[in-house]
């Protein structure tokens, strides 16, 4: 690696791959060969840099220049200017959206300034398909320390001391979970990595597995050593083909290096990992449901206790952890529990990865110390709201979480604060909404998801959520009545109280939180048949304001259904019977001549 003078890192995450990063890599390689520079410059397809908004991203090493929205055709200029002449290609540098100034490298980008990367430490820095690169970045060092210098209980003590809590959503102390599994007697135990990331709008786990699969493998082996398990299982969504293929490569390499299999590092400890595929069921993120799914059954949750730590996969003691939780383990061993515990808040230690998305300037994958405020995340890292619009709410915890309003912007993010505010940490989805979003419609959207994903075992969840969804539908169609608001509230509480698993217990959260903080919006829908955000189609009407229309024909040309008529330089007209209320005319009109009522 050190023989090269330059490295060109091309993001190969799913997002950038969709934007031709593979083609970018190959045009670099082809051109370098053509110019005879292949000995000098190495091209590496890494994983997600996190800054998905501006992808595909190309990073130049050693000077750390970041180029954004790169196209395959830009490769030539980058090589000729940057590599050969040493000049940065101005037009491909990132511009700060607020100040408009050019930012030349990663350290100076607001997006990265407040981040601390522990779980994502290697993502975007190493080639995930090369075990040697992982090893060069302290990879498998923690495993060596554990197997040769520490007893299982000593490792568990370190994890307990670090204060690490489960990153899958629940926040259960990881060390304690390991300890329970370790203390249960049993000849065969299992450790399971949960990659059934089903929260719509969240992609943290996938990125870690795509970008740094070995960290998960290393942590699972340590987990097996601590709990006495000889077998690890990775339960992964079949919808993640890239993550699956990288994991398979990593497993094969680890086996070839003797890091999986019998007598690992001469310690006498045997451990191997198998992959199990999910088939698309959100509820399988719940550990008992996940275990049933691994056994080939419907993924329905069962009552706890017994906890999987006592009786899990095939009735054997099973320790289930999420990807991000595992990604923290090697660092805790290498840098020490005290170091880890020095980051974060009193009860929430370390960092958390969030998938920042929605109406925000910098969509991407970020990792911040727990205790960072929502304002810092949304405005400093996220670059504020798109199009200069006004912030309305942020949804954390996906369909299980709640909407947090502007009054919570200065709340430090940790497990307990979010719960107290009526939301939850969840797996790390963070969706930002602006003034154009209708909170009733958003609640309906989440309930639609829950209705589809409820496994059907508990009547309150199966039937109750369906009824909630129907009431919300009625309201957004302008057919609701004021009593519906009380019905929503009552029914939500019944569902929360009477459902067995986390899905049912949290599914009404979007309804309850929106009712609490945006009651006036619900009231506007039912009392005045008015959607304040102008989102609910049944309540919206688009009309041309005659005085303002210049007859530029822009709306006419863009209307997808041909509902707009009018001659050049004459006032246009919208046929309400044809209008599908897509809002394109409103967006396109440069003269503010479309009235939304």
């Amino acid at each position: 690696m050190s023989e090269y003078n330059f490295q060109i890192l091309v993001c190969g995450g799913t997002g950038c791959k969709a934007s031709e990063s593979e083609e970018i890599r190959s045009s670099f390689v082809n051109l370098l060969n053509e110019y005879g520079l292949e000995e000098e410059v190495q091209v590496v397809l890494t994983d997600c840099f996190g800054f998905c908004e501006k992808g595909p991203i190309v990073k130049m090493m050693p000077d750390k220049t970041v180029y954004v929205r790169v196209k395959p055709s830009d490769a030539d200029e980058i090589i000729k200017e940057h590599i050969v002449k040493g000049n940065q290609v101005e037009r491909l540098l990132y511009r700060d959206p607020v100040t408009g100034t050019v930012v030349r490298d990663r350290q100076h980008m607001e997006f990265y300034k407040k981040q601390i990367r522990i779980a994502l430490r290697n993502c975007g820095f190493i080639n995930p398909e090369e075990i040697d690169e992982y090893i060069a970045h302290d990879g498998y060092m923690a495993l060596g320390t554990c197997l040769t210098e520490m007893k299982p209980m000593e490792v568990i003590e370190q994890i307990k001391k670090s204060g690490l809590r489960g990153r899958g959503g629940g926040g259960f102390p990881t060390g304690l979970k390991w300890e329970i599994t370790a203390k249960v007697p049993g000849d065969q135990k299992y450790v399971v990595c949960n990659v059934d990331e089903g929260d719509p709008g969240a992609f943290m786990d996938r990125s870690i597995l795509e970008g740094d699969p070995h960290t998960v493998i290393e942590a699972m082996i340590i987990n097996g050593y601590c709990t006495g398990a000889s077998k690890g299982l990775v339960y992964i969504r079949a919808e993640y083909p890239l993550a699956i293929s990288r994991l398979k490569i990593a497993l094969a390499q680890a086996r070839a290096y003797g890091l999986l299999g019998d007598d690992i590092l001469g310690s006498g400890f045997n451990f191997d990992i198998e992959i199990r595929y999910g088939a698309g069921a959100f509820v399988c993120g719940e550990e008992t449901a996940l275990i049933h799914s691994m056994e080939g059954c419907r993924g329905e949750p069962t009552f706890k206790p017994p906890f999987p730590s006592v009786s899990g996969y095939l009735g054997k003691p099973t320790n289930v952890n999420n990807v991000e939780t595992y990604a923290n383990i090697p660092v805790i061993i290498n840098k020490g529990a005290d170091w880890f515990a020095s980051i974060g808040t009193e009860k929430s230690k370390g960092t958390k990865v969030f998938a920042l998305a929605g109406k925000i300037n910098n969509v991407g994958l970020i990792e911040v110390p727990l205790g960072t405020t929502l304002r810092e995340v949304i405005y400093d890292i996220g670059g504020g709201i798109r199009g200069g619009k006004k912030f309305k709410a942020v949804q954390t915890g996906g369909p299980s979480g709640g909407m947090l309003t502007a009054e919570f912007l200065d709340t430090p993010i940790d497990y307990d604060n979010l719960l107290a505010a009526g939301s939850m940490m969840g797996s790390g989805g963070m969706i930002v909404m602006d003034e154009d979003d209708c909170m009733v419609a958003i609640a309906k959207f989440y309930l639609g998801f829950t209705v589809e994903e409820s496994c059907g075992k508990c009547a309150p969840c199966r039937i109750g959520n369906k009824r909630l969804h129907e009431i919300l539908e009625r309201i957004t169609d302008g057919k609701g009545e004021i009593q519906d608001l009380d019905r929503l509230f009552m029914l939500s509480n019944v569902i929360k109280d009477a459902s067995l698993c986390g899905l049912g217990q949290t599914s009404p959260n979007p309804v309850l939180s929106s009712l609490k903080y945006f009651r006036q919006e619900y009231e506007a829908h039912v009392k005045a048949s008015h959607c304040p955000a102008g989102q609910c189609k049944a309540l919206v009407r688009y009309e041309v304001i005659e005085d303002k229309c210049t007859g530029c024909t822009l709306c006419f040309r863009n209307c997808p259904v041909g509902a707009i008529t009018g001659e050049k330089r004459e006032v246009h007209f919208i046929d309400q019977s044809l209008c599908i209320k897509c809002g394109v005319c409103f967006e396109k009109c440069k003269f503010g001549a479309i009235l939304v009522s």
Binding site: C52, G280, R298
Partner: protein
């Protein structure tokens, strides 16, 4: 639903897959993944044969097939179109894109056009939220799709072979 008759080669394929997993009941999900991969979908007749091979009840196989969204009992179109309905895409207008696809193709979600060319489905998050709203045609991802682009995307595939240069995002 009218019964279909499985071809001899399909029967052979299914039996082989089941055998490769030792005809173990616990491997049902893995078996279904592979069978769907090879045959495209899992109609009742396929489920019956899988049940027989794994020595379990058809009801249980059916229960699993219908539980997981990844498994389908209807054949997908030649070009399956999936609209991402993850939250990030939703708040950036995925619903309008979906209704435009429904309108253009004249099918509902979960259906296939009569000529077998296109099927329409929703999925829950491609994980490329930076490109939202996102749709997929087969394996190809289209980012930042607007309702106005829908017609053009469909046209790309209408002729049979999509032009490889055409790329949005």
């Amino acid at each position: 639903m009218s019964r279909i008759k499985l071809s001899d080669s399909a029967v052979e394929t299914i039996k082989e897959v089941c055998m490769s997993f030792g005809n173990q009941e616990g491997e049902l999900i893995n078996v279904l993944h592979q069978v769907q991969d090879k045959l495209g979908y899992l109609p009742a007749e396929v489920q019956e044969l899988v049940a027989q091979e794994l020595n379990m009840s058809v009801a249980k196989v059916y229960g699993v097939v219908t539980f997981y969204s990844y498994f389908t009992m209807i054949p997908k179109g030649e070009f399956p179109i999936s609209i991402c309905m993850g939250t990030a895409c939703y708040v950036r207008g995925a619903e309008q894109v979906l209704s435009e696809f429904k309108r253009q193709l004249k099918v509902e979600v979960g259906q296939t056009t009569p000529d077998g060319k296109f099927s329409l489905s929703c999925l829950r998050c491609v994980g490329t939220c930076g490109l939202s709203p996102v749709i997929m045609v087969g394996e190809k991802v289209y980012g930042r799709v607007s309702p106005q682009q829908v017609k053009q995307i469909i046209a790309e595939y209408q002729e049979g072979c999509p032009s490889h240069e055409a790329k949005s995002a």
